[in-house]
Amino acid sequence: MVRQVISVAVTDRKAAPPVGTSVRLTGVSKVFGRGTSAVRALEDVSLDVAPGEFTCLIGASGCGKSTLLSLVAGLEEPTTGEVSTSGGRVAFMFQESALFPWLTAAGNVELALRAHGMNKAERRRRTAELLETVNLTEFAGKRPHELSGGMRQRVALARALAQDADVLLMDEPFGALDAMTRDLLHDELDRICAGRQLTVIFVTHNVQEAVRLGDQVVVLSSRPGRVVDKFEVPIERPRRIDSAEVAELAARITDRLRAEMSRVG
């Protein structure tokens, strides 16, 4: 595949050889609250994500997808089971861009670099580079409210990349965007992932989007969230969301999802 060839060619990434898994969840359950009001968000979820792999999580609302990401990010502790990320840093992207409104686009990206103690000259250079990566060079000086939804998400992506993370968690990052903008961002995300050894866990409601982007698609059930199925996506990149292969696999996954939803009711 294109991706692997390129990731070998990139030399300025850290030299650590890819180990077997980048993110591993073993028998993870998460319960919120206690007693009669307890909500079981995740139950016995086991999941392996290989380094550089793009995994899409799909499921109806209430399947604990966002909880799963929070566990991987270390923002929450699992009730039982174990979550391990092989060493590296974790970056997070949300449906709302969650940019800091008092900073410009460049300022938002730069703050992420600053948090890692990078010096000023280096930060400048790297910020310009990252904004170029997401095609926003001209908008460096704009504040978030002056940018469109799609542009804000691209700044958020640049900010996530600035964290130089090994694992990128994306919680429906394009969910609030129109189809054309989303399509464009899919292309950009593909291109960006191809250039680096980045492990991505991408949560979405949209089956086509999952097939368009993912190396594997994991189907979760609702209340409590459980892994019910996994699909490898063997479709060659570059992919198009409206291609026949994507549609065909998406239809199969949708059927599986429907069966699961009707079972739960």
Partner: protein
């Protein structure tokens, strides 16, 4: 740079043609982003006039009603009309005494408010960070805020005598709670999503405050400062009427001597001065508030 070069390579490889892609992008952006040129084009003069005429009209109406009351003959001997009062004010402005008084009063206001800001900020920061402290003094701060500051004067005068210190003490007691509460509210209402981002970004402790919580608190802090100023100004006026220090003309001293001499024209003129100073400072805070809101995109009209 290797990342970028590779990315560009893949980009052109992935797509039928790179220029078409850029075009599509530019088109989408032109659709979605409002041009900032529009707002620059708006004439400055027109904007000033738009914001000014209602104020001018309001002043004219007040003066007209005042004049009507005067003409109606109500308390004719002691209640001056706007003409005589404004003439008196103009006259006082030609002399050094009023300016001296304004200077003294403003100096006290600045020092008192400045100290209140420092003390309020320290208390606010401590209370917002330390949970037991909040449980202990959180409601006390709000209680102090509702306390009429004039009630502190007997206490302050016994403690510090007839002195500027007594006045400053009461200003601080009046203003600091609002400032502290503004900061506490700002910290409390920092959006949880931003805190989540900060946490994954690796912002910890001091840098979390410096780069995330404090800037996020700014709008609430400005509201607190504005309210603190209102309390400080009131406390100061009460203080200057109660704590008359010899050989230190202030607005309060002038007002008080007008009362002694039953000089209604001068008293009214001084009241107008106090009103104008209060409005001017309030306007400064409003401008700061608006500028933050505009930069953050919190207003409807960007």
């Amino acid at each position: 740079m290797a990342d970028i070069d590779d990315a560009a390579f893949v980009n052109s490889d992935n797509r039928a043609s790179a220029p078409a892609y850029a075009e599509k992008l530019a088109y989408l952006e032109s659709l979605e982003v409002e041009s900032p040129q529009d707002q620059r084009d708006r004439k400055l003069g027109k904007r000033v006039w738009t914001s000014l005429w209602p104020k001018v009209l309001a002043i004219v109406i007040v003066l007209a009603i005042w004049q009507l009351i005067h003409v109606s003959g109500w308390k004719k001997d002691i209640f001056p009309g706007p003409g005589a009062t404004l003439a008196n004010l103009w006259d006082q402005l030609q002399h050094g005494l009023l300016w001296h008084a304004i200077r003294t009063t403003l100096q006290r206001a600045v020092i008192g408010f400045g100290l209140a800001v420092i003390i309020g900020a320290v208390i606010g920061a401590l209370v917002s960070r330390i949970k037991p402290l909040r449980a202990a003094v959180g409601s006390l701060i709000t209680g102090l805020q509702t306390m009429p500051s004039i009630a502190w004067f007997p206490f302050a005068i016994i403690l510090f005598g007839i002195s500027t210190t007594a006045i400053l003490f009461v200003i601080i007691l009046g203003a600091a709670p609002s400032i502290a509460n503004g900061l506490i509210a700002g910290v409390d209402y920092t959006p949880p999503l931003l805190l989540k981002v900060g946490a994954t970004m690796g912002l910890r402790r001091f840098s979390l405050y410096r780069h995330l919580i404090l800037p996020a608190s700014l709008p609430a802090v400005i509201v607190g400062l504005r309210q603190g100023w209102a309390f400080a100004w009131r406390s100061l006026m009460a203080g200057e009427l109660l704590v008359i220090i010899a050989n230190q003309p202030s607005l309060g001293v002038l007002l008080s001597s007008d009362q002694d001499q039953a000089d209604m024209q001068s008293a009214t003129a001084i009241i107008i001065v106090i009103l104008i100073v209060g409005i001017l400072v309030h306007t400064l805070f409003s401008m700061a508030d608006r500028s933050v809101r505009r930069r953050w995109g919190l207003t409807g009209n960007i």
